[in-house]
């Protein structure tokens, strides 16, 4: 028995893993107690890795479409044949319509994603679409703009108060966190504030639970700022020395009194005051934020309001607060992405360029791609190359997405399984799982670490995505921008560290030294060197320089007429410990934990519509309806329902695999208004009706 020390990637992937290998076959995966962050932790998904790697339905060799698009007929082809033909077709489309007519796509924090950008940029296309417009990238970019880096909750620094906002980190390890860190921090008995419409395990045990109306997060944040400033609970020394625009922020939030905010958030003024005092007076205090703060029109403002909270309470870059970590010594992403290869002319063609902060990070919000395919606006998009993403499930307004994918001249999908999106492709290429890959894992990059993921097994003709990208690049005539093989690429990534891949793999990880209060010596890495509570940069770009609240377009307050027909507030995407977005429904070890899609609603709502726990219901919005199974949850607001995302049924027949039955994005909207800076759509505050379905 051989034990390979590696790094899991069943979610974004950062936890240390031990892979036990017998006769070339992985037989067990367990947590690695020596890993510096996860320290032996391994979640349900990680422990099911073997079932993923050896799943009978995995794609095992390249497939080429044989009949009509989406008709389910395929022929097996060789890698060389597939990649050569793909390159030929992409070059033809480039020749005829321009490189921008080819859009590249990747899924949630795939660790090869910077190579996808490199491929697109070297090819000449400015268009890489990803979940980056509603997930994580806004937090990174808006934080850099405000305080010069992404502020990470410093669990090792022993926070006395933890404010969890818009996530359930015990059930999923988000961003650069591992669930075990929060578990360890809770053992020390800190004060706990939870901002969540759902009565989760954490919310149930919080000192203060703020049961927020979905989508009103920024109003709540402005209310907390109001209390902290009005009651003089902020850190005067820090504010005077290290912030810009405090007075403007102070007069701006004056109108967000707890009483006003109560009307917007449905959280009582008393609780708002209590939470503000608890957070401001417990030193140190950290905010653990999550993706839900980004998924509506207030994305930028909410992030900036929360950074303002961290800053004015003196919790930025102090032990136990929110820290700004230095990155480990690896090649910088900007170089990696080869943005410089793109001409100014091509850059100006980037779809969704009006969302300037997304565009600056080369992120294209997907609804602009859908529009370009369907309407040729501002120009036609003819081909897509999709790596590890399932747009039919994860992009808003799924039926429109299907229409768009069907209209493409050419679609390539790289994935582990024949997903509903892959079913519509011209070529489907089999990717490797994390057990089959040598890689530098970036998950903890912004927390100061990179980790070595080491290949333990091989499965048929499955290739790691970075190998696929390198081999495709060669056939596109882009060899000079790439590498001969994966090892050469890994050496390039590691060059600044002075280590080769093999040395790094032996060592396991690289860590940047952790230093607190770096601003005292270097200032904050913003234009002013201070925390920019008021942002002249945003003002110059034509955006609001102060965080402000805009009512999302589809709520009882903004559209009371629609609310008469669709009386419930729908928030989508609450996590299950068994799944990662649209992945893993085909793994029995995980599916048996939660076999069906779940919509949570209150006992009052259940009574009103006449349903019980376990009943199937239709969730309907003006876009359409889908079926999920009721979980009656005491403690939910009677007007709020919370549905899961990513549901398709691999066991159902193709090409749809039931992808329009329970997939919540059938009912979400891809229409404006969007968050102006990032183009975020609203996934967390829609209006719906709910009624009983048969079976």
């Amino acid at each position: 028995m051989r034990v390979v020390r590696s790094v899991c990637r069943m979610c974004h992937g950062g936890c240390g893993a031990l892979i036990y290998v017998e006769d070339g076959r992985a037989v067990r995966v367990e947590g690695d107690p020596q890993h510096p962050v996860s320290r032996g932790y391994m979640c349900a998904k990680g422990l099911a890795s073997i079932q993923l790697a050896y799943h009978p339905d995995r794609l095992r060799y390249p497939l080429k479409r044989a009949g009509d698009r989406g008709g389910g007929s395929w022929v097996r082809v060789s890698w060389n044949e597939a990649l050569s033909d793909i390159a030929k077709r992409l070059l033809e489309i480039k020749e005829r319509y321009g490189a921008e007519a080819v859009v590249f796509a990747h899924g949630t924090n795939r660790e090869y994603l910077h190579m996808v950008y490199r491929l697109a940029h070297a090819f000449g296309s400015p268009n890489v679409t990803s979940p980056g417009y509603v997930c994580y990238y806004p937090r990174v970019a808006a934080s850099i703009l405000t305080c010069g880096g992404l502020p990470i909750a410093d669990y090792d620094g022993e926070p006395k108060c933890i404010m969890v906002w818009g996530c359930n980190p015990l059930h999923t390890s988000p961003d650069e966190y591992c669930a075990a860190q929060l578990c360890r921090a809770l053992e020390r008995g800190p004060k706990l504030i939870v901002v969540d419409p759902r009565p989760t395990w954490l919310a149930s045990r919080a000192d203060v639970w703020l049961r927020i109306r979905p989508g009103s997060d920024v109003a709540l944040a402005l209310g907390l700022l109001n209390v902290i400033i009005e009651e003089g609970l902020y850190d005067r020394g820090f504010v005077e020395r290290w912030t810009v625009g405090f007075d403007k922020l102070a007069s701006h939030v004056k109108k967000y009194t707890p009483e006003k905010v109560e009307g917007l958030t449905w959280v009582s003024a008393g609780l708002i005051r209590e939470a503000a005092r608890l957070y401001a007076l417990s030193k140190p205090a950290c905010i653990q934020w999550g993706v839900k703060i980004e998924q509506n029109v207030n994305c930028t403002s909410c992030i900036r309001a929360l950074v303002a909270l961290m800053a004015i309470t003196g919790n930025l870059d102090v032990p136990g607060g929110n820290v700004l970590c230095s990155p480990p010594p690896v090649t910088r992403f900007t170089e990696f992405m080869l943005t410089s290869a793109l001409s100014e002319e091509q850059r100006r063609k980037r779809l969704g360029g009006e969302h300037k902060l997304s565009s600056m990070g080369s992120v294209v919000p997907p609804m602009h791609v859908v529009k370009a395919i369907l309407e040729g606006d501002p120009y036609p998009v003819k081909a897509m190359v999709v790596f590890g993403s399932n747009p039919l499930l994860t992009w808003p307004n799924s039926k429109l997405v299907k229409e768009a994918l069907m209209k493409l001249d050419f679609l390539v999908v790289v994935d582990l399984f024949m997903t509903p999106t892959a079913e519509l492709a011209d070529y489907v290429l089999p990717a490797a799982t994390w057990l089959e890959i040598d890689d530098v894992a970036f998950y903890f990059y912004r927390a100061g670490y990179v980790m070595a993921r080491r290949k333990a097994i091989e499965v048929d003709e499955c290739w790691p995505d970075h190998k696929i990208i390198i081999e495709l690049a060669k056939r596109l005539g882009l060899r000079e921008c790439f590498w001969e093989d994966v090892e050469e690429y890994l050496n390039y990534v590691l060059k600044p560290s002075g280590l080769t891949w093999r040395e790094f793999a032996e060592r396991g990880w690289l860590e940047a030294p952790k230093r607190y209060r770096k601003y005292e010596e270097e200032g904050f890495r913003t234009l002013s060197g201070k925390v920019e509570l008021y942002s002249e940069t945003l003002e110059r770009m034509g955006y609001s320089p102060l965080p402000d609240y805009v009512e999302p377009p589809e709520t009882p307050l903004s559209n009371p007429k629609l609310a008469e027909e669709y009386p419930f507030i729908l928030t989508t995407g609450h996590r299950s410990p068994a799944y990662f977005h649209s992945e893993y429904r085909q793994l029995p070890w995980l599916r048996s934990i939660q076999p069906d899609p779940i919509v949570e609603l209150s006992p009052e709502a259940a009574k009103e519509i006449g349903v019980e726990d376990g009943d199937w219901v239709w969730i309907e919005t003006p876009r359409g309806r889908v079926k999920q199974r009721v979980k009656v949850v005491p403690g939910m607001h009677p007007k709020v329902v919370s549905a899961q995302h990513g549901w398709w049924f691999p066991e159902k027949p193709g090409p749809e695999h039931g992808c329009f039955e329970s997939n919540i994005n059938v009912v979400t909207s891809s229409e404006p208004p969007y968050d102006p800076c990032f183009g975020a759509v609203t996934f967390n505050a829609l209006l719906c009706r709910v009624y009983k379905a048969e079976g």
């Binding site: 995966v29 032996g40 932790y41 015990l170 809770l186 029995p588 048996s592």
Partner: protein
């Protein structure tokens, strides 16, 4: 003889279900087979909206499963574990309804009953049972019965003293 115990503290269980998958992997439970440890979600318990309770064989002091087993397939070891000998099990299922924890699982493929064995093979290697090793919140703890009891006592005393 050192007695060993798997101690459960439901107040700490966060409902991550890692123990269930750890158990399936460790015991090679294929496909849809039930794990020997199951996490039950309880809504509205002691003033909380949601709690989770891991349920697994408690390796009882006077195990009713042993009393009803007609073939002597179940036995209690000196270390305290209730173990099932698959070779002796005839799959009659008499033990299943008498277990207060519903901790015995019938395997329809092999026609025998299966249950938690406290991961005896792992423990021999000096490892913790897999569910315990992968519990992130110390809801599951494994160790010598006497020292676990001492720990619990001092913890309760500490809480009373507060």
């Amino acid at each position: 003889m050192v007695k060993l115990t798997l101690l459960i503290d439901p107040s700490k269980c966060i409902g991550c279900y890692a123990c269930e998958v750890a158990c399936k992997q460790e015991h090679g439970l294929s496909g849809w087979a039930e794990p020997f440890i199951k996490v039950k979600e309880v809504r509205r318990l002691h003033g909380t909206y949601v709690s989770y309770v891991p349920v697994v064989c408690r390796h009882c002091g006077r195990p009713p499963c042993i009393e009803v087993c007609p073939t002597g397939a179940l036995e209690k070891t000196k270390e305290g574990a209730v173990l099932l000998d698959v070779e002796k099990c005839i799959g009659c299922g008499a033990c299943i309804p008498v277990c207060p924890f519903k901790a015995l699982v019938f395997d329809p493929e092999e026609g025998v009953v299966k249950k938690c064995d406290l991961c005896v093979e792992r423990v021999k290697e000096g490892l913790e049972p897999s569910c315990v090793a992968h519990c992130p919140s110390s809801a599951l703890v494994f160790g010598e019965t006497s020292s676990l009891i001492d720990e619990l006592r001092s913890k309760s005393a500490g809480q009373l003293a507060k």
